[in-house]
Symmetry: D2
Subunit: 344 residues, 4 copies
């Protein structure tokens, strides 16, 4: 299948080029970047020298529609929506990595992101969390790949909401992300001199991923869920580690809680439920599409603690996008995503 | 004043040598290390070459009592207690950095740490959190310096418990520490190859600092407080960043919450209450005795979020110990601790 | 082809498991580790959970010879030799990652490494630097994969020695390696707290890789080459960056020097000759089998500077070993090694 | 003494604020920053909150001359010169951290840096390497503090040139610097995502510090010295490690070479000559004004290897500047610079 990567010069875009390079069914037919149009990808990003010889091109959706079957849109929110619309109009299957089609309520979207730029197709995206939307993804033409934080927060939380063993209001989510979560943003705060050896919370209870998490959690819980979500910045390039704190309705052992995870993910190829006594580590999922999850019940305080680790660029973005494309096409769910974690 | 550093070869011990070197009232008269006895400190730790020419010696409390007025005990818990007892018996003022005299209930101590090795003086330590125990510290002969995690958890939490604006059961504490928190432990898990680029939770709801936090929080709250405490390991040498999640009893604004912090710490020289919109960062306290604290109220979910950053070896250990000694002797609280944070 | 990984629990061993997992022609039939015998690999190394379900076993060369066609020996030098001999005696093709069969002069070997433990087959190894020994590698039954430092030093140096444009005595080699070069060595000096933010030279002009570099350089130069080799330790997990300083016999431009590299490596799939103005970067080869090389002529001082970057665990160890196996079997040289560099 | 810091918002400027804060004889009377004029320093740089309450001001040299006795100029080269001239015209003692007054030959300066902006005072600066210019610094009114790379290259090299035991053409200098050497430069290449886990050479044999090194080396050698200088970028915030390769004229042992260093630096308070078998490490000088030096003779190849480690912001910039001011005023050479290295 011929694919295009739209917005291929960001960190998610480059990671996707790596995955497409190894995917047995995908052929990279086009990669767009407004700023780097005309440059050879492998010269612009020397890691890809002699691997990706294509040139970046400016985005022309109508033209692309004649050349590719599917496109991954790795543009920032708001910029993504019109590109998605144009590609869909041309019949292209779209995996959108941006936030533009994740929310189901347009008012909520516009509160957090401003006016939607392609309202005519708002609501058409299938939320691309394969562990919960596998059926809907079959044949999907527009997939809204989840955000990195929501992926890491929902996977260790949803099984317990579905099982009805925890309270829904509020849920505490303490998340920590490597710096690539900010993309290739050139700002003083992201310099190595500022971030290395550092660590801090940001956008405390004010991050745009809150409504996405609450939406999906509420759907699974069958009642409104409210979350307190605090993201933190880690001095690493990649990775998200998230700890979710849920109040138990009734006593539960760690072993029982773990069974709930195993029931949910026993058949999920990319969610690994850890044994009791182990915790998810960034180093064990780095470069892979795995989400490692664990659970501990704090019987003393009546708290269930869900833990997760992902590579934000892979399971938190384009790896999950490829997983969704695989499902949408009826291919093996793991094709192109079988690379073992990069460790150490 | 002549002082001894007992257990001077660990990371807290070496940090203390740095502080004593700059403290205008302290003279290093002895430094003990069983393993390195006989070695010149500056040769054993080349960072201190030509700065500390003393030799490590084996611990002989009776002999030390004739040579020093005060001693900092930087030994592991359980090993510390008998050393403290022997030094006290010799009339030496002791600042104990270990956990051996922090807890007020011996049964609780023994549940978490095993049999106490100096039960005859159990209960004699003054808890060395100067922002809450300044009066008791004046003239104190045995100070139990708080743990690193408790310091970072209590300072952004106690003012709200005292003000009675938050629920006490349970409180969620999500803490992240640099690797020096484990001391100079030579184990595979602490190799750079294993920890760098990594991040994970450990001892989930099972860390020995839990009873210490609950003890102090309960005293201030005037009722039993239960906490869910989850420590995480950061890929940094130093620093602890802690986020505390408290359920509000009634609506409160961030500005009102910040006033509560200002009331508590307006006169505290080492607690800096950050302006609204800023969050504590490890890089801003590194190498200093500061604890930066901030607060955000999540009105949406009814959660008050207390945030803190400290250098675990300084405010989380020996810097706080020196602050306590200053208070116990009636010296200026900040003497020897005025070095500006090491940034960048 | 069924293969065994001997010494599979070190960092090179684990990296090899990752490569074998993706190699289309290799099937992992056995993995040995004396310390971890009986443990499931994916449980012992959670990054490989659900990927490698085999158990570690103790080494039994005779038994292995009945089960595998080829073996990679990832044991320390001196331990490797007898294992290699036993496997060869059983007819197994061996790729030896250790130093035991790299040197051609047994006296030199024994000066640096002590008595050789399999003298009967000393001298039978083909030096596994494919860019210079491609023909000898075809059909080879015993390959001695080069050391990590020698790979990074020889590739940017040999073409100039072969071309006769530089002096041979002495050559200055300043090399910098990430900490995984020391293997999974649990020692204080390799703790994150000791290595992070740090950098220093070690084994100055005294590293065991010196005779290997001199041997290969002398062979290509056709005269004795002496090198001053100084390794340094970088605060990274992976990667070697090496700068080689050669005295020019006669003036040469950077462009002319670069042509010499292009002549040497134009057809080499894993050596990328950089454009003028670019320098090799660890981040651009991380996780890949590439060696990026560059050259700058300092006309002012008459020095030719050769530069190289590799991933020490891949091109500097097991990736190069797999490249050699591919050549020995007549397979495509790049099979199993096409994963794009892990960047960022 | 009242001092001003000109260009106080860069990394060297902020480090200087830390040193001035602890210096017993200095009082910060003014700090300039064009971009941050009007902002409170401790709010602009939260590490300094509650420590430096002064406001940044725009530079007005005439006004400053009425308010301060001395000024440190931490501006970029070329911008510095006119500020220095104006301050000197007002009678202010100036310690210039920039490159504008280091070179003795104006043509050389202009080749590397462009037209000099204060030619009327060109040549008036005393080169501020105290270990070699202590006498000239007494009473100096304009000090040109050496560059960071030159400091790290000259200290392990000059004693051997002075002793006449090494060849002078060419000398190989392989230097490695942390990212703060680039200042607070907001560019993609300095993002944590680009630099962390990375390492590479840059400005190969083309760095502006070359003429400065050659000038000082030639003066000491008494004959023209040519150097091949290759800087590399380390994934650390601070620190420079430099290895210098000198060709021996005649055989010399490491012990004899070390004696030459001891002769040169026995009385130098900030140069520590390491014992045989130890090498300078960034971690052992971090945050301090020390330069650790070592030497190894490679008898096999006839090479003398000089090694050095400094903190680029301290001994490589403003710490050395303060050392020069101390000497110029006849104060103790170490005043304000006695803080022990920040380790770990």
């Amino acid at each position: 299948m011929k694919v295009a990567v739209i917005g291929a010069s960001g960190y998610t875009g480059v990671e996707l080029l790596r995955i497409v390079h190894r995917h047995p069914r995908l052929e990279l037919a086009a990669a767009t970047s407004e700023q780097r149009a005309g440059l050879v990808i492998g010269e612009s990003f020397p890691a890809l020298r002699e691997i990706v010889d294509l040139k970046f091109e400016a985005l022309d959706a109508a033209d692309l529609a004649t050349r590719v079957d599917a496109a991954f849109v790795c543009l920032p929110h708001s910029t993504a929506a019109p590109a998605v619309a144009a590609l869909r109009a041309g019949g292209v299957t779209v995996i959108d990595i941006s936030a533009d089609f994740r929310l189901r309520d347009r008012a909520v979207y516009e509160t957090w992101y401003g006016p939607h730029k392609a309202p005519e197709i708002f609501g058409q995206g299938v939320y691309g969390l394969p562990e919960f939307y596998a059926e809907a993804l079959v044949g999907a033409k527009l997939v809204a790949a989840p955000g990195c934080y929501p992926t890491s927060a929902l996977l260790p939380m949803l099984p317990f909401l579905r099982a009805g063993v925890v309270e829904t209001d509020p849920i505490i989510i303490d998340a920590k992300s490597g710096a690539s979560g900010a993309g290739r943003t050139v700002a003083e705060g992201y310099l190595l001199t500022e971030l290395d050896d550092n660590f801090y919370a940001y956008k405390v209870a004010a991050h745009r991923h809150i409504p996405e998490i609450e939406q999906e959690a509420s759907l699974v819980a069958g009642e409104p869920v409210r979350v307190t979500f605090v993201p933190h910045l880690l001095p690493t390039i990649r990775g998200i580690g998230t700890s979710v704190y849920l109040r138990l309705k009734a006593p539960l052992t760690t072993a029982e809680a773990r069974e709930i995870l195993l029931d949910a993910y026993g058949a999920a190829p990319f969610v690994r439920v850890l044994p009791e006594g182990e915790t998810p580590k960034l180093a064990h999922v780095r470069g892979s599409n795995f989400c490692d999850v664990g659970v501990v019940v704090d019987e003393h305080a009546g708290t269930l603690i869900g833990l997760a680790a992902i590579d934000n660029l892979v399971k938190g973005a384009v790896g999950q996008g490829v997983q969704c494309l695989n499902l949408s096409q009826g291919w093996g769910e793991t094709e192109g995503l079988e690379e073992a974690p990069f460790s150490p």
